[in-house]
Structures are given as structure tokens and as C-alpha cells.
Amino acid sequence: MGADGTAEAKTTYREAMREALREALRADDRVFLMGEDVGRYGGCFGVSLGLLEEFGPERVRDTPLSESAFVGAGIGAALAGMRPIVEIMTVNFSLLALDQILNNAATLLHMSGGQLPVPLVIRMTTGAGRQLAAQHSHSLEGWYAHIPGIRVLAPATLEDARHMLAPALADPDPVLIFEHGSLYNVSGELLPPTDPVGLDHAAIRRPGTDISLITYGGSLPKALAAVEELAAEGISAEVIDLRTLRPLDDAAIAASVARTHRAVVIDEAWRTGSLAAEVSARIAEESFYDLDAPVERVCSAEVPMPYARRLEEAALPQTADIVAAAHRAVG
């Protein structure tokens, strides 16, 4: 039983996102869900299970395997006043629709001199860790966070999975939501949010004074695990969950580094040109006089993701890597 007498509201990240979709479809008839196998199959990762039965084929639309066409159609429908949610099965297939996202969704408002906002939400699964090998294991959030004109979110907790969708739908501009594949089965208690969940700020998941562990999405659990190991050695580590990858919450990052004077950035993408590189550059620019050690980065090895389990684990950023980086920084 919950402390306040209600039944323990245990739920999973997947169920939280499904509930968000159901709430959105109920609240506004301009909202509809479109994507491969979102209807009869119930979603490749089961997120939209049961929605077809509840809302019908007009508002939960299975699409042919034509990413460019149905993402472009989502953009067109948004231009015409609808509030579509387009699901791209994984970020790996989003490359087929990158032209529509970059050259249409992100750019129409500007090219039209402000006449054509595109109120569209695109959700896609991301990340590696399930031995899906090179073509199914990419982490390309950084590519999208490079594009002016769109907002990029990375819900890592149950609360964010449940409550980010509504403000995203209310945003007049395109919003991309990245859901890390390893998070769907995470379960826990989902309490109603105290104040409304915003999209502009990072969150301090664990306060600390000696070092800042800055991360997002699927890497958050590994960072929290690292905190326990470091605490045992007397190092008080702070964990910053970025939540929004564009725009980055510069103030939160700078405030944390001003407290701890050391930073490790954890990002599952490849190091070169990664989001971690951008965060590290901003720390060097904004908090140079607060740095008592070079900024450390823990990213994937620069290799197409191998299939063999031990190789994949070696390629991906792990808790041990985070602890080692923290040691290098704390000295």
C-alpha cells in the first residue's frame, strides 16, 4: 500500500507513455497517431497497445513502410491544423525521413517568413544494448539537436515519459521525443507531478558537491549507479539529467559545475561531434574559472555496434567507465 493509503501505483515507462498517448487522443480530436504497426500490431515496442480498439483506424493509423511519405504527411497535416503524433519505429529508420524533418519541418516557419509553424510531435526509439548490431543500435539524438527550429527531448524517468507529451503537443513548433529502448521495462511508482512538467530545464536527480555527472536518456541509470560506488569512496557526485537536448539548459549545467568544479558528460553516441562534445565546449566557455580538472567524456567506442554481447558491452559507456572518469577528474 502507498504511504498515503492509495494502492501502490506501480507502472512501467512503456505504460506511462501509453497513458500519455491515450490522454492526448482523448483531450483533443485534432490529435492522431500515425506510424508503422502502431495500430493492429500495438506498436513495435508495445507502446500503443489497445489504442486502435479505443480510438479507431482514422486516429490510430498504420502506415506503409514509407518513412519519408508518412513523416512528410505528418508535417502537411500539422500545417493544415491537425496535431499529429508520428512514431518512427527507431532512430535508425529516421534517416529515411531526415530530409522531411530538416528541410520541411524545421525550416518552413523561417522560409515562409513566420507564416507556417509546424505543430508536430515525432517519437522514436533510440540506443543500443540489446545485441541488435550496427544498423539497429544508433544513438543519433545529437544530429537532431544540431537543427535550429525543432525541440529535442529525452525522457529518462517514468514521470517525464508520462508528462512530457502534453506540453510537446502544445508547442507550435516540431518536437522530437527520443525513448531509449532499455527504458521501456523500467518500472516504479508514478506519483502525480507536484508542479507541471516543463520542457526547458534539466533536473538534478542526485545533489552532490565534488563532481557533476551530466547525462540524459538511457545513460541515466548508469550514472546513478556510479554515484553509489563513488559515495562509498567519499566522493559526493551530483547527477544532472539534461531532459532537453535542444535547447540545452546552460544555466543548470553552469550552476552545477560552479558547485562541484569537475564534470563528466555521459553520452551513448560516438565521441566525435557528439552532444557530449557540445556540452563539454559550453562548460569550457561558461565555467572556465570554475574548472579544477579537464571535462571528462564517456561515450561509445567509435565502432559500428558489434553483435557479440561482450563486444557490445565493451563498446558502450558503462558504470565502471563513469567511475574511472570521475577518479581522473577528482584526482
Binding site: G76, A80, N103, G113, L116
Partner: protein
């Protein structure tokens, strides 16, 4: 957009004529309509001829793709659409924009990069937009507009609105993946979409037979399960009649239709390409079926057009374009401080 000062307020050619009682009335109505089609085509022709001069004198820059020779398609198709219908175009779009009713001044100002341009100076020749006329602009990515048009049609259909979305694209776009994905999706979902393929026989420098294994585009479009037929893209009345038939079919709910307008561009792909890929004699042959002279000859035969009246139309259009150029050259440029405007809807402040 401010309408050119001293042009006669044009009756919007798109409105179908009320039912006429006597044969004479019917004849006058046809003459009046032909005069409107002629003026619309002449406006496009003269506008683009002026662009050639302005481009050579470095007054307008960037890429400019001319529509001279294909005017009948834009004017004919637009005759079948209502102001509530939506239009998606390509980078060769001056004709589509002017036929849709966007003022010559707004288009000229846009090509001069001024704030009074129809895209505020941000889009240029390849990205003309007018939300009030549901003109969802040019796209510089070949076939980039096709999925967009499917989405517009989907939205109208989901909201039970009887509107049609018309998407212009070329024979080059017909070879892009996005065309095939969109055609299938539109047919699958029965979307109210009019696909108008302006087949001008060349994808930039590649002749039709060197880009398509099967060059009968209409036949190939039909294979997606939608009515599809070809029409003489040089005859504005034939195009209008075909477009009307397609649009009536779409509004009756029979799903997307495909029109292959066989037409030809008299000038290079863009401002000054070597044009070595086609023979001079071929251009001359097609010029003999110039869409404007086809219509004027037909009107002369029926005594519907005197030289004096033609001169008056020419004079009125020249004045309209002179004014458009003059206004564009005097219009203000956007201050640099506004650089980051319109990046996001709330981008009064710069969002990193």
C-alpha cells in the same frame, strides 16, 4: 500583401461562372473567361522576361528557374481550384504563385529579398509562401513537397472538408522514392489529392528517355490504383477542362487523381545553363505551339480579341510589373537584428 496600385482588380479566375441562360450569354462568358486565362498567362510570361533582365543586371540573385512555355499548366489547373483548396509547388514556381493570385509585387519583392516579399525576404524565388491563399510554397528538394501535400489532403479529409490539395511536380520528381511512397499512401487512404506532373521532357539536363525506363508517366501512375491521364500542357483550355474533371472526381470521394501535363520550357533549366542537352530545332518546334499564341489565335478566329484590346492588356501588365519592380527596389530590407526571428515560433529571443 499590398496589391499593385493601379491594376484593375482581377476577377479571381478560379470562381466557376454562374449558370447562363441564353447561348449569347454563354458565348460572352466564354470570351470573358478566355480573356482572363490570356491575361493570367501573359502576366507570368512578362514577369519572367523581366526577371531575366534583372538577373543579368545582378538585381536579383541566387537560383531562378523560369516557367516560360509552361504557363498553360499553372493557369489551366488553377482554373479548377477554389480559394479553400491547397497548393504545393516546386522551385519553378513563379507561374504557380502568380496564377494562385499572389501579387506580382509580393513575388518581385521576395526575389529582391525585401520584407514586403510574400515570404518576408526569407525564402526567395524557390520558397514563395502565402498561408492566406493556402499556397504552401516551393520546395527546393525535388519531390520534397509530395509527402507534405498528402498530409494536407489527409487533414482536410479527416475533418470532413471538401477541399482538394493540388501538388505540382516534374518528370524528374517522378523518379524520386518520395513520389512512389506518396502515390501509394494517397491511393491506399483515398486522399483528396490532385497530382499534376509537369512533364517538360527534361530533368534539368537529362531527357525523359534517359531518366525513365517507361516514359508513359500517366500509365505508370495508374498502376497505383488512381485515375491518371495525360493532357496537352500547351493548351490552357484543355488543361483546365482535364483539371476540372479530375477535381470533380476527387470531391466526389474517388481518391487521388494524376494529371500528366505534357509541356515544354522555352528557356534553360535555371538562369543560364548551357542548354547543350537539347537541340535548338526542338525548341523552335515547341515554340510554334506557344501556349499564349495558341489561345490568341483561337480568340482571333472567333473574333473575340482585337489588336487594340491585346495591346491594352499588354500595357496594363507592363505597368503592373514596372510598379512591382519599382516597389521592390524601394521596399525595406529586414534589419540584421532580426536574424534569429522565425527560427521557432517564440524566437523573439535567440534559442540556442
Amino acid at each position: 500583401m499590398s496589391v499593385a496600385r493601379h491594376t484593375r482588380t482581377r476577377k479571381d479566375p478560379a470562381h466557376p461562372k454562374p449558370v447562363m441562360k441564353t447561348a449569347a450569354d454563354k458565348k460572352n462568358a466564354r470570351t470573358e473567361h478566355r480573356r482572363e486565362l490570356l491575361e493570367a498567362m501573359l502576366r507570368i510570361r512578362r514577369f519572367e522576361e523581366r526577371c531575366v533582365e534583372l538577373y543579368s543586371a545582378t538585381k536579383i540573385r541566387g537560383f531562378v528557374h523560369l516557367y516560360i512555355g509552361e504557363e498553360a499548366v499553372a493557369v489551366g489547373v488553377n482554373g479548377a481550384l477554389t480559394p479553400e483548396d491547397a497548393v504545393v509547388s516546386t522551385y519553378r514556381e513563379h507561374g504557380h504563385a502568380l496564377a494562385r493570385g499572389i501579387a506580382a509585387e509580393a513575388v518581385m519583392a521576395e526575389m529582391h529579398g525585401r520584407t514586403t516579399g510574400c515570404s518576408g525576404g526569407r525564402g526567395g524565388s524557390m520558397h514563395l509562401f502565402d498561408a492566406s491563399r493556402r499556397f504552401y510554397g516551393g520546395s527546393a528538394i525535388v519531390a520534397g513537397g509530395l509527402p507534405l501535400a498528402a498530409g494536407l489532403a489527409l487533414a482536410d479529409r479527416m475533418r470532413g472538408l471538401p477541399h482538394v490539395t493540388c501538388c505540382f511536380f516534374g518528370d524528374g520528381a517522378f523518379a524520386e522514392g518520395e513520389f512512389h511512397e506518396t502515390a501509394n499512401l494517397a491511393a491506399l487512404w483515398g486522399l483528396p489529392l490532385l497530382l499534376v506532373c509537369e512533364n517538360n521532357l527534361y530533368a534539368m539536363g537529362t531527357a525523359l528517355a534517359r531518366e525513365h525506363a517507361q516514359t508513359d508517366l500517366a500509365m505508370r501512375a495508374a498502376s497505383y490504383g488512381m485515375p491518371a491521364w495525360a493532357v496537352d500542357g500547351m493548351d490552357v483550355e484543355a488543361v483546365e477542362q482535364a483539371a476540372r474533371r479530375a477535381v470533380e472526381g476527387i470531391r466526389a470521394g474517388t481518391g487521388p487523381h494524376f494529371l500528366e501535363a505534357r509541356t515544354y520550357r522555352f528557356r534553360a533549366h535555371s538562369m543560364y545553363d548551357p542548354d547543350r542537352y537539347r537541340a535548338k530545332v526542338e525548341i523552335e518546334q515547341w515554340k510554334e505551339r506557344d501556349p499564349i499564341s495558341l489561345l490568341t489565335d483561337r480568340m482571333h478566329e472567333n473574333g473575340e480579341l482585337g489588336d487594340k484590346e491585346l495591346a491594352r492588356i499588354e500595357q496594363r501588365i507592363t505597368a503592373e510589373i514596372d510598379h512591382a519592380v519599382e516597389a521592390a527596389e524601394q521596399a525595406p530590407e529586414e534589419p540584421v537584428e532580426n536574424l534569429l526571428h522565425h527560427v521557432t515560433s517564440a524566437s523573439a529571443e535567440a534559442v540556442s
